[in-house]
């Protein structure tokens, strides 16, 4: 019943058969870079994340591994199910927020700044463990309001250019904007290495770039609006295979 409600309201959503990951819109060379773990620069962050995973830190002197063991087993599927509702905090959290919370709450270490090298490395390492798995976002009465809020943001015109996300990514995907092909905006590979950034970044970084692009005030990192939008985008991409850490132009 709840799931039916979640699916009904907006008919311009891309039909499942037409859903394509951003990697489908890339050049052959960029796709080859993503598919080769020895050439994918995102793997440098995954490597560092792997090292951080076993490093004891904080007042509690704990490593991630001390509670979570081998990430290859315990973190399988985790990134493909985020953002999710954290009962302990009573709110919706992104993967980065959950890692940061573990850092302060369980390890007693200072929080990791958004987009910091360490937080991205841990997120990349966790996300790597979900590669090849389908995105699964569970919507229940706790998360339905956040999904609705994210969907509303996605369809709301914003900024000086007065554009809504849906106008490009639902109505005009596949066409070109300023010489670049417009993808469908499925976050199948985050955190990812963007050639334009010459570095790895989170989905929130990309969303902020988009908002600046339409001359809207970008929400701060970690803002509920961004996490809700992440939730909606991941839900909209449900069933698609996770490909983190991806490479994008």
């Amino acid at each position: 019943m709840v799931l039916a409600f979640a699916a009904s309201a907006f008919a311009d959503e891309i039909p499942r058969a037409d859903r394509r990951s951003g990697s489908d819109f890339m050049s052959r060379e960029t796709r080859a870079m993503q598919d080769d773990d020895t050439a994918n620069p995102g793997m440098l962050w995954v490597l560092e994340g792997g090292a951080l995973w076993t490093r004891k830190t904080g007042a509690a002197g704990r490593a991630c591994a001390d509670c979570h063991g081998d990430a290859r087993a315990t973190m399988k599927g985790v990134a493909a199910r985020h953002p999710s509702f954290d009962a302990a905090q009573g709110r919706l959290v992104s993967l980065e927020q959950r890692i940061s919370f573990c850092r302060t709450d369980r390890q007693g270490a200072p929080p990791l700044a958004y987009e910091s090298r360490e937080l991205l490395a841990l997120a990349a390492y966790v996300a790597r463990q979900s590669r090849g798995l389908p995105i699964e976002i569970a919507i229940d009465q706790r998360t339905q309001p956040f999904l609705d809020a994210g969907r509303t943001t996605y369809h709301r015109r914003q900024g000086q250019l007065n554009l809504a996300c849906s106008q490009c990514h639902d109505a005009n995907w596949g066409r070109q904007l300023a010489g670049n092909v417009i993808p469908q905006a499925h976050p199948t590979g985050y955190p990812l290495y963007r050639l334009e950034w010459q570095g790895l970044g989170s989905l929130q970084r990309r969303l902020r770039n988009c908002l600046v692009g339409i001359r809207a005030e970008p929400y701060e990192y970690g803002a509920p609006e961004l996490v809700q939008l992440e939730l909606y985008l991941m839900w909209r991409a449900r069933g698609m295979l996770f490909e983190a850490p991806a490479v994008r132009p």
């Binding site: 020895t38 050439a39 620069p41 440098l44 490597l47 560092e48 010459q198 570095g199």
Partner: protein
């Protein structure tokens, strides 16, 4: 940053041409960019990469600001004997990374 990703075949036949891939984490700051306030961000790049095979240099490259971040260098060499391949990157501000990989040549 963790450092470098090296891909060397574990074993090869004597005389076989092998492909070696290297990827190193480095921002490769060109020295041409400016901050929001207009101050020049100083150059900080890797300048040299060299690979030695049991002590003999088999590949060398000089890098310049045009090389993008996290340089990916792929080259080939002939598998002559079993031993160690050593990879050495040096650059500005005392940047120096060395990694090695073993190869079994039969």
């Amino acid at each position: 940053m963790a450092s470098a990703l090296i891909n060397v075949p574990e074993r090869a036949k004597r005389g076989e041409v092998i492909e070696i891939k290297t990827l190193i984490a480095h921002t490769m700051e060109t020295g041409f960019r400016r901050t929001q306030l207009g101050a020049l961000i100083p150059r900080d790049i890797i300048r040299r990469f060299a690979c030695t095979y049991n002590g003999t240099e088999v590949f060398r490259a000089e890098l310049h600001p045009a090389i993008s971040a996290n340089p990916f260098i792929v080259f080939s060499t002939i598998a002559v004997e079993s031993g160690t391949l050593e990879f050495h990157w040096t650059g500005d501000n005392g940047f120096s990374v060395t990694q090695s990989a073993a190869i079994l040549v039969e």
